[in-house]
Every structure is written in C-alpha cells, then in structure tokens.
Symmetry: C2
Subunit: 335 residues, 2 copies
C-alpha cells in the first residue's frame, strides 16, 4: 500500500513539520501559531470575530483525476474565504484539518498545502494550526476560517426588502461549464481554459464584500457556493421576501454559454443551477444606490450586474423571453 513517498510512511509529526516549514512567518497579531495544543491570536480591535467552516471530500467535491493538488488546496481555502466575503469580513486566520488516505503521495500533499498557502498569502490569511489524521476513506480537507468585521457593518442574508435591486458579481455558470468540460475531457485547444480555471481556482470576492460592508452599500448578501438558483432561494428565505430575476441580465460568460448550447442546455438555466461559482449575490436599497456606485468605481475590473428586483410576493421567479417561471431549486451537495 504505502511507498516511501506516501504520507503513511511519514508519520504525523513529520507531516506537521513538513507543513510548518512551508508556512511563512506569522504576522505580529498571531501570539502563538502552529505547534502547541492550540493557537493564540489577538482579536482585531473594536471588531467582531467571524467564523466559518467548510470541508471538501474527494469523490464528492473534487475528483483527483482532473483536479491538480494545488487546486484542491486553493479551493478548500477559497470556499471558506468566500463565506467570509459574503459577510463583508476581512479574513485573518485559517485552521487546516487534513484527513488523509495512507497512499496519498507526499508530493501531492505538499502541492495541496502550497496551493492553499498561495491563496492565503494573497489575502493575508495566517495558517495558525490544524490537525492531521489518517483515514481508510477518501481525502478530506476541512478548513475553518476566521475573519473580522466592524460592529454593525457586517452583511447577512436576511436584510433584503421589496424594491431592493438584486446584483451579482462576475459571471455565473462558468465553474459548472468548466467542471463539465473537465469531466468530459473534451477540452479543445484551450477554448474552455477560463471556465475550467473558474472551477479549479475560484477567486473569493473578499474585496467586494469588504467594500459593500464598509460603505453600507448592500442590504443583504450571500455567496454562490451552490449556484445562483440556490443563492436566490437562500436570500429570499432568510429575508422573507420574493425575488424576480431578468433571465437576459444573468451574466453568463460567452465560453460557458457556448458550452451549454453545444450540450443542448438552456444557458441561463444551466448557469443558474450550476454550483461552485463563489460570486456574491447582494441586494441594494434605493438609498444605497449612490454608495454602490462609489463601490463600483473603487472595484476596478470586477464587473457587478443588476439581475432583478426584490418583491413582496415570497416567490422566486425568472423572467424570460417566453414569460415567467419559478427559479428551480439549487444544487444540494448532500443528495
């Protein structure tokens, strides 16, 4: 089963040491990092702590056949940072819990950790602790991310009110098209590279979340980890409101649209039901519109698109050229 370069041949302490040597020096507010029974961290002054946890399981959330190890590490952290972004939180700290099959190659583990640390470095997230255990089952990477928000300036799912505008960042459906392309192995001459990259290495919208929260430019916000359709339903449910979305406004990238059309799928429906987008879906009240303009000016290249309106009806509906229909239920990872 195990070879000299597998994790089973290495032992827990040596694996912890391997990871510790790859972690850059801690920022000054990390009082005690990796190596003791727990990590000790100075909270951000005059702020609240924000906590989220999310696990990626091999065979459920990724397939090692087409997901390079660095992308596994990137995604495992990105899905957590995306949750912090949806709260308008600044990420600070991560804990990494690795559940490793005995035959995992050390080189793959190293690449997983490096993929995670590269994203962490870009967002100034300190890896302060974690846990390593073996498993007779699939590889599982569980991360807890901790951020900070100014008091009374965090975003929730529950603040959308009838009349608010509905906005979404970036494109939706690219990750779903990219995943489908990766699964099919049918990539032709790099045409799907951007979509595959969107699936493999999603970019958590930390800066957008921070700007929306600080400027008070959004009444509600959720990230699209399970796709736009799911995000719309979550937002409506938490806000006890209805939503109507203009299908023609839903931002589906040209390459994703082409993929869906070539595979006999309605591009907007396919994009809405696809998961793993990690964009932000947020609502903007009438008095917040000027603030959103100012956020958009600061944002730079990331597009945000208005896709609909909050209603009082308690239904979640999609307007298309052919009429109106309910937005389908989102993807549920569990089933």
């Amino acid at each position: 089963m195990s070879t000299p370069s597998s994790v089973a041949a290495t032992g827990e302490r040596a694996l912890i040491d391997l990871i510790r040597t790859r972690v850059p020096p801690s920022p000054p507010w990390v009082t005690l990092g990796i190596g003791d029974d727990a990590a000790v961290v100075e909270p951000e002054p005059r702020s609240l702590d924000v906590f989220t946890t999310d696990a990626l399981v091999e065979g459920v959330h990724f397939d090692r056949a087409f997901t390079p190890p660095d992308a596994i590490g990137h995604r495992a952290l990105a899905v957590n940072l995306s949750d912090l972004a949806a709260m308008g939180a600044r990420p600070r700290v991560a804990l990494l819990s690795l559940v490793l099959p005995a035959d995992l190659l050390l080189s793959d583990l190293t690449a997983i950790v490096d993929g995670l640390l590269a994203l962490a470095a870009r967002h100034k997230v300190a890896l302060v602790g974690g846990n390593i255990t073996r498993t007779p089952g699939p590889l599982c990477i569980d991360i807890t991310a901790v951020g900070s928000v100014h008091r009374r300036k965090f975003l929730t799912r529950s603040g959308a009110r009838p009349g608010d505008q509905i906005w979404v960042s970036g494109h939706v459906g690219s990750a779903a098209a990219g995943l489908a392309s990766l699964v099919s192995g049918a990539r032709t001459a790099g045409a799907m590279t951007a979509c595959e990259e969107a699936y493999l290495r999603p970019e958590p919208r930390i800066r957008l979340g921070l700007l929306l929260a600080r400027n008070g430019a959004a009444s509600a916000c959720v990230d699209l980890s399970d796709g736009l359709a799911d995000g719309l339903h979550q937002l409506a449910l938490a806000s006890e409101a209805g939503l109507v979305v203009d299908g023609q406004a839903v931002p589906v990238a040209a390459d994703a649209r082409e993929w869906f059309v070539a595979h006999q799928a309605d591009p907007v429906m396919a994009a809405m039901r696809g998961g793993d987008d990690y964009e932000l879906l947020f609502t903007v009240s009438a008095r917040q519109r000027a603030r959103l303009r100012s956020v958009r000016q600061t944002l730079g290249s990331l597009a945000v698109t208005r896709i609909g309106t909050v209603t009082a009806s308690r239904t979640v509906r999609l307007k298309t050229a052919g009429g109106e229909c309910p937005v389908p239920a989102g993807y549920e990872h569990f089933r």
Copy 2:
C-alpha cells in the same frame, strides 16, 4: 442503500434544520449563530482568542460497534475542549463539520449531536455554525473550538525549566484499558465500567487549566490526547529540557492496573503508552508551588499527582524499582 430514516434520504437543509432545532438559544455575545454564511461573535474583552481543531474518523478514532453515538459526539467535542484546557483557555464557541456516510441513521446523527450538545452545555460552549457533507467513506466529525485567555496568562508546552516539578491530573491508562475492554467485549459484571467510561466520555480538564493559568501556577502544560509517554516527549521537546518520571508515582487506577496485569502488561508502561487520557500534564517551578497548593484547594475532587522532575539532560526517563529506562515513544495516530 438509503432508508427513509437515513441521512441520505433527508437532504442537507433538513439536516441543518434538525441540528439547529436542538441547539439551545445563543448567549448574548453570539451576534449571529447558525444559518448565515458565517457566524459572528463578540470577542471576550481584554482577552486573546484561542483556536484548535481536531477530527475523529470512524475506524481510526472510534468504532461504531462499541461506541454509542452520544459518546462519538461527546468525544469529538471533548478532544477539542481538552486542547483549550491545556492552554488555560475558557471555551466559548464550537463549529461542527460533519462528513456523513449516506447510510447513517438519522437517529444516530441526532444522538451524536445530543452527546456533543450535552457536553457543550456543561462548559457553556455555543455551537455557532458548521457544515454538513456526504462522503463515500467513513463517518468523520471535525470540530473547531474557540476559547479566550487573559493576555500573558495562557499556558504553553515550552515553559518547563530544570528543577520544575512534573504533575498530572486524574488517572492515566484508564481510557486505554477501557478501550481494550470494549474491543475484547470481555466486560465482566460491570467491573470495567469506569475505564470504559473514561474512554467513551472523557472529561476535559477545563477548570484545572483555567485555575492553573489564572493563578500562574504552572510553567508548562500539555493535554494527554496521545497518552502520558507522548505528552512527556512533547513537553520535553517544546521546552528543550529533560524529564525524569517516578514510575511508582504514575497514577494508574486500580481497575486499569488489574486489567493490564491480567493481560500480561506492565501496568505503568501500558498506562503511559495508552492514548485518549485527556488529562493535563503540567510543570510547576519552585516559586509556583504555593500557587499550586491554592489551586488544589479550589479544585475539589479532581486529584493531581506529582510524578517527576524536569532536568537539564534532554532525555525523557522513567525510574522504576529495577532502575532507569527511556520513556517509550507515544502513540502516533497516523501510523
């Protein structure tokens, strides 16, 4: 595969709702609990945050054949609270990441959650968030626990100095004997009940850790998640010191001692190498002895026992009636 009462037949949202309804109302410092993209928590004033994460994997850390579901939930939280205890931290918050096989019964999941929540309630820990995903592999419960410590009053592994006394709480080896008894199925007339209970529902030494830290009564501290032998090595390594332990002083409970003797094992060696004790191992300098006396008076029924002395030699040795020998390496979960 799935029956109407398995988690696969239930779906992620319904499972989250099931857990949410079992969680008691949050304390006032939980600004936002279960249900949004992340939890928002007020940090303890003038304190530092303490973070730890630990996962239990079926087939590695527990066997469902003899571990009741409530004990699985209890242990998953206890191992994390024990890490906080070793830092002298007061636990405040937990996040629960569940990786569930499709055929897990809903009734078992409910019992797991209830076992966890019962221990959480006793230590005033608020379950503020988590994640649920399915797996084709074994059940895995990953918990992140967050506590708080006064500035400059937390315990580490690295403060032991030559001449310090070495102390341990409670008994060591009971959990190992209890596990062996459970595995063998050889329980006779309830004689091993206390040891089996020590394995199934370990009591994290939160109060002892808090008292040691607040009174400045310990120079170093570590919890015995991987047994006394491992704890001694970890303490020596982190403190760059040596340790000498008096074998006759090691507190092995009478029923555990009997079990080991009946199974041809040296009771002290077996107790030291056994894992899952979750007692605290700590060192006390000459000037801290009066403070420890005051802690012991406050402690009540929990015994603490002096078992040895810190040395300058960099070796970890055991004194027995027959002479001195090195303390064996501890149990490594990974191998």
